[in-house]
């Protein structure tokens, strides 16, 4: 496999092999969005939709646009596209999304 090559198994075999796993993941996303909707905002907490949830919904739209390289484009959607280093790191962690 020195260069790009398609999976050695057929399109049907790919679906047979991976469908149930990804069916479960789609249901997980649906259940997560339902869970967010059902939850109450804590006192003093903004009721506006969290930027991470908005980002996830934007990712879902990428899945349905019919264009290739969905994984790359989803990751780019979730990425910081600024180019200059920040002055100082105030935390070690990452949130997994940016404001979209």
């Amino acid at each position: 496999m020195p260069g790009p090559t398609p999976p050695p198994i057929s399109k049907r075999a790919v679906v047979d092999r991976y469908f149930l796993e990804h069916r479960a993941k789609v249901i997980d996303i649906a259940a997560f969005l339902d869970r967010v909707d059902r939850a109450q905002a804590a006192a003093g907490e903004a009721d506006a939709q969290d930027f991470r949830v908005k980002a996830l919904e934007a990712c879902c739209r990428v899945l349905l646009d019919g264009k290739p390289d969905r994984a790359r484009r989803v990751l780019e959607l979730l990425s910081d596209h600024s180019t200059e280093p920040i002055a100082k790191a105030s935390t070690k962690g990452a949130t997994g999304a940016t404001h979209v």
Binding site: P7, S79, H81, P85
Partner: protein, 266 residues
Amino acid sequence: MYIDPHVHMVSRTTDDYQRMALAGCVAITEPAFWAGYDRSSPQGFFDYFRQLTDFEPKRAAQYGIRHHTWLCINPKEAEDPVFAKEVIKLIPQFLKCENVLGIGEIGLNKNSRNELEILDAHLSLAAEHNLLVLVHTPHLEDKLKGTKLIMDAIRNHARLDPSRVLIDHVEEHTVRHVLDRGFWAGMTLYPDTKCTPQRAVDIFEMHGTERLWINSAGDWGQSDPLAVPKAQIEMKSRGHTLESVRKVSFENPLQFLSQSGRFRIA
């Protein structure tokens, strides 16, 4: 048979060594990293470097696994440049240890100016001693930006040959950038935050197998020290040849790491 070229065994049990050996692991490389808390003094790093160069190779050898290491202060502890430079001063005395392959895992975490300053200090040390470099790229939303900043920083060191630098934790949005600039690239098989074995095999199919390896990055967090053999199974089950499986999980790491002149398999 396989090599896991990035795994933090100081955080794993002896049972993990045994299971890795049973799965066919013959050699590993262990980059210095963040312990989950900031060390309180440079002396803490001195002891950590002793563990990586003395104790851990003996523990691995009990299971027929050859242990190698990379030394640095991880970017997560680089926000205090004075402290970080004190740690960097400790590294040269360990470079004579026979299992030290180079400087790593250096890089960026939050893409800050202080992190860049310490990255540059590490790169200077690697260039001065003609060492291999293993690079950590930031997590999640910071990865794309950080990967580009890191590659630019490396390019400022003319003595560092990209073919002697591996940029780790690539995903679909960074792998092409890294390979196109002549570096080696590593895919980390890690739950939730990096690549699954399935996605890693997808990336091989999309970008080929040249200058690309896989690792578990097993550590103190949720991780899987058997991730590399699981990716081997994924490749085989899709019908990829045993030659391709061996190339990404054994031949490629062997080729890159052998540039150190110190890498050995058991």
